[in-house]
């Protein structure tokens, strides 16, 4: 089943949903990157929850005008308007009052969502609203997706993606250094508003597939995941877009392959799976590699300290240090150095002496900053410099007159 779903052989509706979800995922991942880099990820949560009153009002207005209240374009326009008002409220509360951004987000999110739920309950009681099914926009529902809906989602997603790519340079500049951006003549508040506007557009476009509660996951998880694999802004949004697209496509396929699997939540879980794997196994920033690196570093420090103790004939109290020395064949179980151990210990002591002299010399100030207790100076200095240093070790210390 899953294979058929992944190769788009599960019929018309499943294919529409998979392609729509993929495009949505790509634009959400790329757009979300700039939100994440600007460290304002949670604003998207306020935006998405603020769509709800607009959905309710749009339904009421459309019914009142004698149209079909469930028409997707109308609902999306309503949701965009109320999300925009919610966004402006967050901006004003943050900039115009003493409220911090997280409090402002909390206030706007809950008030708008509460108002939206009230409207939805009222609509349930209206004669025209009994089969409205507006609550499906909370968590997304792809069951009865129309071709026109899919075109709307795909077109909207593609447009947002294009605008994101167009604005990526100013958005990265503002995210990294907003003061410099302002000094260069960029209108920072306007660029922030544009970023938020793009996030708003992704949210609205994604209502049908993932719903308003989970869209924040699709905006944030892909860039956070991408960050594990690269150190360059350009690659973060490329990878985030790819991961978002893959999550959308695979998630939609999985949910189509079995009855009663919700699309939006499955997409989010697939994105999370990518995140979990990256968190654990990324070579540069993953948990596993950092634990390994730390262990290795600790080992080198212990070994070095052990060697220095051997060289100076001091007792070694730490069991771990002693075991390390034994395992490397540098010391006997009773803590006495082997021949190999004596040689390595003498070298370690020489390194320390060289560093000690070097750190006292004005001329080597830049090199002195690189002292880490582990590195031998022969890897940093030239042979001449080293020879000069060694003559100073041998010579008696000069005493200032």
């Amino acid at each position: 089943m899953l294979f058929e779903a992944l190769t788009l052989q599960l019929g018309y509706n499943a294919t529409l949903v998979a392609i729509g979800a993929m495009l949505l995922g790509i634009s959400a991942g790329a757009t979300g990157t700039f939100l994440f880099l600007r460290k304002r990820a949670l604003v998207s949560d306020a935006i998405s929850h603020a769509t709800l009153p607009g959905i309710g009002l749009a339904f009421i207005v459309m019914v009142w005008l004698g149209m079909d209240g469930r028409s997707l374009p109308g609902l999306l326009i309503g949701s965009a308007l109320s999300a925009w008002i919610g966004l402006l409220c967050v901006q004003w509360l943050t900039g115009g009052t003493r409220l911090s951004e997280d409090s402002a987000i909390g206030a706007v999110l809950s008030v708008f969502f509460g108002a939206g739920i009230v409207l939805l309950t009222v609509i349930q009681g209206m004669s025209a609203g009994r089969q409205a099914g507006l609550d499906s926009l909370l968590l997304g529902s792809t069951a009865g997706m129309l071709f026109s809906d899919a075109v709307l989602i795909a077109g909207g997603g593609a447009l947002v993606l294009m605008l994101t790519l167009l604005l990526r340079r100013p958005m990265s500049l503002v995210a990294f250094d907003s003061d410099f951006a302002a000094a260069s003549g960029l209108n920072v508040p306007r660029i922030d508003l544009a970023t938020m506007g793009l996030v708003l557009a992704v949210t609205v476009v994604g209502l049908k597939i993932v719903g308003l509660i989970l869209i924040v996951a699709l905006l944030i998880i892909p860039p956070v995941t991408a960050r594990f694999w690269t150190e360059r802004t350009e690659h973060v949004w490329l990878i985030a877009g790819a991961l978002g697209g893959a999550s959308g496509y695979i998630g939609a396929a999985i949910s189509a392959s079995a009855p009663a699997l919700p699309t939006g939540p499955i997409i989010v879980l697939v994105a999370f799976a990518f995140f979990a794997v990256s968190l654990l196994f990324s070579p540069a920033r993953g948990v596993l590699s950092s634990v390994l690196r730390h262990r290795q570093y600790q080992r080198r420090v212990h070994l070095r300290q052990g060697l220095l103790a051997l060289a100076q004939g001091q007792p070694i109290y730490e069991g771990y240090t002693l075991r390390l020395l034994q395992r490397e064949g540098l010391a006997r179980p009773d803590g006495v150095a082997t021949g190999d151990g004596q040689a390595r210990a003498a070298k370690a002591l020489l390194d320390e002496k060289r560093w000690e002299i070097l750190r006292g010399l004005q001329a080597h100030e830049a090199t002195a900053a690189r002292y880490d207790g582990l590195t031998g100076l022969e890897t940093i200095l030239t042979e001449d410099q080293l020879r000069d240093l060694d003559t100073r070790i041998a010579a008696p210390r000069e005493i200032a007159p």
Binding site: R169, D177, A181, A183, G185, L186, E231, R232
Partner: protein
């Protein structure tokens, strides 16, 4: 001074003539957080081709002065002219170096990409980064001794190296006026020497340099002009003119010992 004479001959009042030729002239600048002013009614006229240190105690509004002058924070009142013209028409001639601590150095970007940000005005939204742009950026890195670090992630740099990268970004802009916020804060002595050498070479090329500076002891050695501020402007002029016993007392109050004041004002 010739430009100034020319301007006065053209019938401008001396004050207006001074503003018309000054790389950075500020009039009546007030910035307030809440209802307590950080700087109050500040006038400052930077001389063309000078190296000016903005000096004052903690909380005197030194950084605020620079940021408000550049429109990074919105002042309550006052205006800035740059080379005698409105600020916004002269952005391309200004390079700003913010405090190193004001950005997140774990940001996913490389040294070269940071320096290329200095070319934003040239690149705009869509223009591709060409080899000529990369060369400009690499040349700027070479001037601060960081050419070997071009491909490094910025998080791997030491504090002094970060400051040099920021300076390189400003150099890449090829500006005429350089404004630096605490360029020597928390950097090693080698970096401090490298930075001051670059700033002096800018001055030698006829550029104007303004830096917020903390260390009273090195003002005389590094700069030729000083602007003393403590919320209100206190003194302005050559270092010797600005560093009088009275003005230091006025700016720092009880925070400087009498012996220090004597030493500094005599040095000037």
């Amino acid at each position: 001074m010739t430009a100034l004479n020319l301007a006065t001959q053209n019938g401008l009042r001396p004050e207006a003539a001074e503003i018309a030729t000054s790389p950075l002239a500020i009039r009546g600048l007030t910035v307030s957080y809440g209802e307590k002013p950080a700087i109050f009614s500040v006038d400052m006229t930077i001389r063309p081709g000078s190296m000016t240190a903005i000096i004052g105690p903690n909380g005197a509004g030194k950084s605020t002065l620079l940021k408000a002058a550049l429109g990074i924070i919105r002042p309550l009142s006052g205006q800035t002219t740059v080379f005698g013209r409105p600020l916004d028409t002269q952005r391309a001639r200004i390079a700003y170096v913010p405090q190193r601590a004001s950005v997140d150095w774990d940001f996913p970007t490389t040294v070269l990409d940071v320096v290329l940000m200095g070319l934003y005005r040239e690149l705009g939204l869509l223009r591709l980064v060409r080899s000529s742009h990369r060369k400009t950026a690499t040349d700027a890195l070479r001037r601060v001794g960081m050419a070997d670090f071009a491909d490094r992630q910025i998080g791997q740099l030491s504090g002094g190296q970060q400051q040099r990268v920021f300076l390189a970004r400003a150099l890449a802009q090829g500006a005429d006026l350089y404004l630096l916020d605490e360029p020597f804060a928390g950097v090693d002595a080698a970096t401090e020497k490298a930075i001051i050498a670059v700033l002096k070479s800018l001055k030698a090329d006829g550029k104007t340099v303004v830096a917020v500076h903390h260390d009273l002891a090195t003002v005389e050695q590094y700069f030729d002009h000083a602007f003393l501020i403590n919320v209100r402007p206190v003194a302005e002029g050559t270092v010797a003119e600005a560093f009088t016993a009275e003005s230091l007392q006025a700016a720092y109050g009880g925070r400087l010992a009498t012996a220090q004041i004597d030493r500094l004002s005599q040095a000037g």
